[in-house]
Amino acid sequence: MATIETRAERMILNMGPHHPSMHGVLRLIVTLDGENVVDCEPVLGYLHRSMEKIAENRTVVQYLPYVTRWDYLATMFTEAITVNAPEKLADVPVPKRASYIRMIMLELSRVASHLLWLGTFVADIGAQTPFFYVFREREMIYDLFEAATGMRMMHNYFRVGGVAADLPYGWVDKCEDFCQYFLPKVDEYERLITNNPIFRRRVEGIGTITRDEAIAWGLSGPMLRGSGVQWDLRRVDRYECYDELDWEVQWETAGDCLARYFVRVREMRESTKMVLQCLRQMPGGPYENLEAQRIAGGPKSEWNGAEYQFISKKPSPTFKVPKGEHYVRVEAPKGELGVYLIGEDSVFPWRWKIRPPGFINLQVLPQLVRGMKIADIMAILGSVDIIMGEVDR
């Protein structure tokens, strides 16, 4: 399109750290040419709490309450990785039932995270209505979490070797209720958002990243899958019991904000279906059933076997991280959440390196916003889905 040459003087604009669409305390120094973004430099560290250093003088039991403060919207994943790292290093077995409970919790947490992402993403673009609908459903997930773990967000539920407690009475029934209730609600969001012409104009073709670039930048999660890479650690690493479920990796090829939106919305559906499968396949079924079987079968019954426990052995407060080092990762809603752990046969880990997905995904932001309009920064940043708690740690 022919435009009149109106090259204005460059303007340096400071966005954040207290801008409402900065998702916490991210600061962007944006260089503008009129309304066009010439460059952008993210400034991090406003929420830095030295989580890695804190880990170096905490036992695993002591450190577990901290980790939900990394990514405070997908709290179960941070707990999962915190117990997986020492678990794998020390070869602690996880009972199958515990693994299923973990999967249910993880997938519910993924739905909760994507829900909040959806709310803030469209709110950044200017649609406030879905934000409230999304919170209504998220609240139900948190009610489920509260009943099982005792806290809505700071669960402290995962343990080395299993989970802290079995599911309470009636939990499985209500979780199933929620899943059945939730699936039509996703359709409702889609009716409200997906084809809305204003939304489409704001996100289609915005913040495009190609397949090769996405891989080269080290992106993960929906950022990577939105660019046409079928990379899901649940498939790749086969951790927990994800192999026993019937599910598809959700992906898109366009690589723009809309593609990432589609990936996440479909992942919500897929996760809900996975929760439903887990509820049906869980060894022992609901806890009340398991308890009845145990009463009927007596102390020697198979229902008291290792498969049906929620934890293999209660971790001792002086659980020692064995000597050795390794990298463990899970597929968090934002991408690959990993921990590089070095143990030296002491109760404290020698090094606890966190690989947060948001931090790595945020790197690509300057490239994505370059050449775009200033209003697109919100759409692009929203679609990257960062949580400053895990970016700065």
Binding site: R58, T59, V61, Q62, Y63, L64, P65, Y66, T129, R136, E139, M140, D143, L144, E146, A147, A148, T149, G150, M151, M154, N156, A164, A165, P168, Y169, G170, W171, V172, D173, K174, D177, F178, Y181, E188, R191, L192, I193, N195, N196, P197, P286, E288, N289, E291, A292, I295, A296, P317
Partner: protein, 202 residues
């Protein structure tokens, strides 16, 4: 000429599409007029905290053996256990115990690892004070029982999702005394026995 007509046609089609999709979206919005709000009118209505809710910690002085496990599992070694070693009885004697709830994050590690169960978590969650030093609870304050939502005549108690009957999604739809979802293990046992009686063995 045809280009102009095509432009007009495209524009009209876009406008009609936009109107259709916005109408579709508004239908969702207007559909909410026939739904009940899920908002809990807080001081008048209160949610009943779940059974496992981790609120203010309750402490029983007489059960405590001053082993200090709670201190060791606490992320910040918060509980203050003040004891002397009684040489005649050859036992630790607890003098005082305190937890500062201005610093506590209610992770529940102390409760989980307490060997004598002298610690427990209550359903009390509103601990606001005018002075933060008031939050430093000593063993007397820790021994007080929590305030219960269901005992307050001014408050309408509301059940959380997990404690509602099967199929009910809102706490406003049923009274808080409605039985929760899921069977009791006794009932499952009875059903199992009834089934085994009906089915001839062998």
């Amino acid at each position: 000429m045809f280009g102009f007509l095509k432009q007009v046609g495209d524009y009209t089609r876009d406008a009609v599409q936009a109107a259709k999709y916005i109408g579709q979206g508004m239908a969702v919005t207007f559909d909410h007029m026939r739904r009940r709000p899920i908002t809990v009118q807080y001081p008048y209505e209160k949610l009943i905290p779940s059974e496992r809710f981790r609120g203010r910690i309750h402490f029983e002085f007489d059960k405590c053996i001053s082993c200090e496990v709670c201190v060791r599992v606490c992320p910040i070694n918060l509980p203050v256990v003040d004891y002397t070693y009684n040489t005649t009885m050859k036992k630790k004697e607890l003098k005082s115990y305190s937890i500062d709830f201005g610093v506590c994050i209610f992770c529940g590690n102390c409760v989980e690892y307490c060997p004598t169960n002298c610690l427990s978590m209550t359903e009390e969650y509103d601990l606001a004070t005018y002075d933060r030093h008031d939050l430093n609870f000593d063993n007397v304050a820790l021994g007080r029982m929590p305030y219960k939502v269901t005992d307050d005549p001014m408050v309408t108690p509301i059940r959380e999702l997990t404690y509602l009957p099967k199929g009910v999604m809102g706490g406003h739809e049923v009274p808080h005394t409605a039985p929760r979802a899921g069977k009791r293990p006794e009932d499952i046992l009875e059903e199992m026995e009834a089934a085994s009686v009906e089915m001839p063995v062998g």
